[in-house]
Structures are given as C-alpha cells and as structure tokens.
Symmetry: C2
Amino acid sequence: MREKKIRLKTAEIEKQSHLDYFKIAISVDCVIFGYVEKELKVLLIKSDMKEFEGKYSLLGDLVKLDEDLESASKRVLKERTGMDDVYMEQVQSFGSVDRHPSGRVITIAYYSLIDIKHHKLKLSHNELDWHPVRKVKKMAFDHNLILDACLRRLQQKVIEHPVIYNLLPEKFSLRELQKLYEAILGVQLDRRNFRKKISINDSLIDINEKEVDVSHRPGKLYKLKPEFKKKKTSKHN
Amino acid sequence: MREKKIRLKTAEIEKQSHLDYFKIAISVDCVIFGYVEKELKVLLIKSDMKEFEGKYSLLGDLVKLDEDLESASKRVLKERTGMDDVYMEQVQSFGSVDRHPSGRVITIAYYSLIDIKHHKLKLSHNELDWHPVRKVKKMAFDHNLILDACLRRLQQKVIEHPVIYNLLPEKFSLRELQKLYEAILGVQLDRRNFRKKISINDSLIDINEKEVDVSHRPGKLYKLKPEFKKKKTSKHN
DNA sequence: AGGAAATATGTACTTATGACACATTAATTT
DNA sequence: AAATTAATGTGTCATAAGTACATATTTCCT
C-alpha cells in the first residue's frame, strides 16, 4: 500500500516535471515547398492555439521517444498530407526560451520539396493550404524565422545545383525549369545563359518529347539523369 | 522521516526518468577549433562514461530549462575552458534514437573558433586537450559524425570568406593566414594566387609592422578591417 | 660581404560569367 | 493556304575570375 502511494507520487512528479520544471520538449517543423502556378509556395495550417488565433503555422509535432528526428518530420508530413518519399533536409534548430507560449519547446526545422501534381493532398481538411512564400504574413511562434532560414537554405541549394527536380514533374521543359529557378531566387534570368548553365552541368536527358497543350511552339521535354537523383538522406542524425 | 524517504525515491526516479523513459534530453556539443603549431586542432575531453572508457568526447552539456541554445553552448565553453566571447555557429542536430547509451538525448552541434594565444586554458585539468583534427580516433557517442559535420561547415565557410580571423591573433602575416587556410581545407595552395584572392576581397589593413623573431625575411603584418569583424550572432534561436 | 631563404609582385593562359542577336518552329490569324 | 505571331533554340563577343608559373627584393645568418 505504501509502495503504491509512492508510485502515485512519483507519477505525479513525472507528469509535472514533464512540462513544468526540467523537461524540455522537442518538436520538428516542416517547411514544405511546392511550386504552384509558377510561384513558390509553402504549406501552412491554421494554428490551433488560441494565443495565435487566425495565424498560420508550419506543420510540426513533438518528437516521440522512439523515433529519429528525420522519422519524426517524415511522419508529420505523412500524417498531415498523406505524402511519402519526399526530399527533406534538416536546416536548423530553434530554441529560444520563450519561443513557445506553453513551455519550453526546442524545434528542429526541416524543409521538403514536393511536386504537387504527384502528391494530391486533401487540402479541404484542416485549413491546410498553399501560401505564396513571398506573401506570408506573421505566423504563429517564430515560424517566420524558420521559414526564412529554410528559404535561404533552398536558395543556396538551387545556386549550387540548379536542377531542383523535386518540385517539378518527371518531364519538364527548360522554360519550366527556369521559371522555377526564378521563383525560388526571386530574380529574372537570361534565357540563353540559363540554358548554357544547365547544359554545362549535363544532368538532363533529352527524351525526344515536346510539350503539349501550350498555345505556342512547344519546347522539348527533359528528364533528370538517374545518377543525379540521389536523394540526400541524412544518415545518422 | 517518511517524507524524506519519499523525496529520496522521487529524486532517484527523476534522475532515472530524466534519461530513461519518456523524457528526451537536449544537449549541446561544442566543436572547438583552434590553430596550434600550424595544425587545425579540436578540443576534446576524456569521456567520463564507462561505456566509452578511454575514448574522447566533445565538450557538451544538457541544456537547462531557462537557457537558449546558444547560451548553453557558450556556458559549456566558459565552464570548461574559461573562454568567453568566442565565435560560434550552430551546425546541425543529431538525434538518432540510440546515439546515447543512457537514454534519448538529442544534441545540437556548434562549432567555435578561438585564438588559443588569447585564451589560455587550464589544460592540465580534466584531461582536456587539443587534438589534430585529421588524427582524431573513434570518439564517444556519435561525436566523430558531429566533428565531421562541423569541419565541413568550417571548410565551406573558409571557402566563402577566406579570412578566418578568429583563429589567429589580431596581427598576422599573409603566410600565417595561408597556412591556416591550408590547414582547414587540407590542401596546398599557390602563394601568389592566394595573396591575389585576399587582396581582391579587400578586408585587410596593412598596419606597417613586420613579423619579429622569424629566422628569415619578416613578412608584413595585417589586421582585419573592423567592418569585417561582425560576429555572426544567431539572433532568435 | 655574400649566400640562403622567404617575401613581394606580374604576366600569360584558361575557364566561367554576363550581355546581347538572329534563325527556327509551330500555333494562330487572316 | 499564306502570313503573322510568339515562343523555342543556338552562338558570339566582352569581361571577370581562376590557375600556372618566374623573377626581383628584403632580411637573416655565417
């Protein structure tokens, strides 16, 4: 009997300490980029916290005890959007003491790139929807900071490796690729120089097909060479 | 008396649950780079865990509930080395489920650059000492991975901005700067081209002094222009 | 005073980047 | 069916950046 009482006590204390005293919670937040209507967009959800009523937030969740960080962010993606097998990269941790109104939560930010045509998400649910990256208003928590950090990382990536195939369908024209590149970097580029740059790094296959349903001369379609499709999988973190 | 016994018990359990069951602990690990005897070194300490007896580990500690991540890693540095006001940059989180033998610990890696001449550390204590980065053996935990990630980040940084003044004394010669650059990248460079590169980015001041106590023609000494000294302080994470 | 050793600087060659123009193709209009 | 239009597809030249390489100069040491 006495033993039981002690257990109760300790359970209580565990629960308290869980959020109150020495416990720090860990979450992941996903910045999910998509390319819709020639604009770079990010998937946001209406915040369910009353402190942030009306504001949007990134998709995220607490990390479970038995899951790796990347598993956690893939789970978030899968749960909320049904999407699987997406490109994902860890960006940065955010851990200011006061970043979460309900307690101490350190979050690890990931960004993902998805081709929205291949991954049909149930946008009707959950007030989940695409927002143009450049027009995102004040979000919940420090999520604007997180979005900025992820966008900068994506821009860095696209400069180093201009073919961001993850955001495009399997077959794409050079014009489409250039428009994507411009959408990410927020600049306009010379068509000829862009094509030269692409041809130099030699990562595309001409598949001898042409665009259809365009109201002008159709462009050639390309695929990414398989050897460039290596997904960046972070192994041990 | 009974109360006391309970407290003892709960304290025990707190300690257990702290690392055992539902608690995910958060730590920071610091990869502290120094430039000693023309070699890039990292500050390591003998692991105090019996699982890793004889192995070295990075300097790290659990993050306290009321401290930001960067504060935590600065505290670690200060406590263990006495050093303050150092360059520091967050690199990556490591959170594999099994990375820590005593429980779930997610760690956030930082790297620091210090000029060892300005920061005299009490190396005699704690079996704390500098180790050549290229010759580090198997360390405790996943610390080899962490070191690798931080080294790659530092290399990236030095390519973008060749003047890594944090590792050098205030006044330095171009030869010293080049040797440092070479030590970080692990390559040999042409002296003339290196100097051209440095002169182009125009970040040094010729202070009209020369090296002393060198057994050959002394080189000119330079300082970094103040406007290039902006410390990278991560604001909100 | 002369030799050794490192500093300091310049030039030619190659490669990458940026500005720019014209011919070609296929859909659309007349 | 021919002319028009609007986008695709390619090439050249000028400039900037990167790489390979050589000679003169300064200081230390003997």
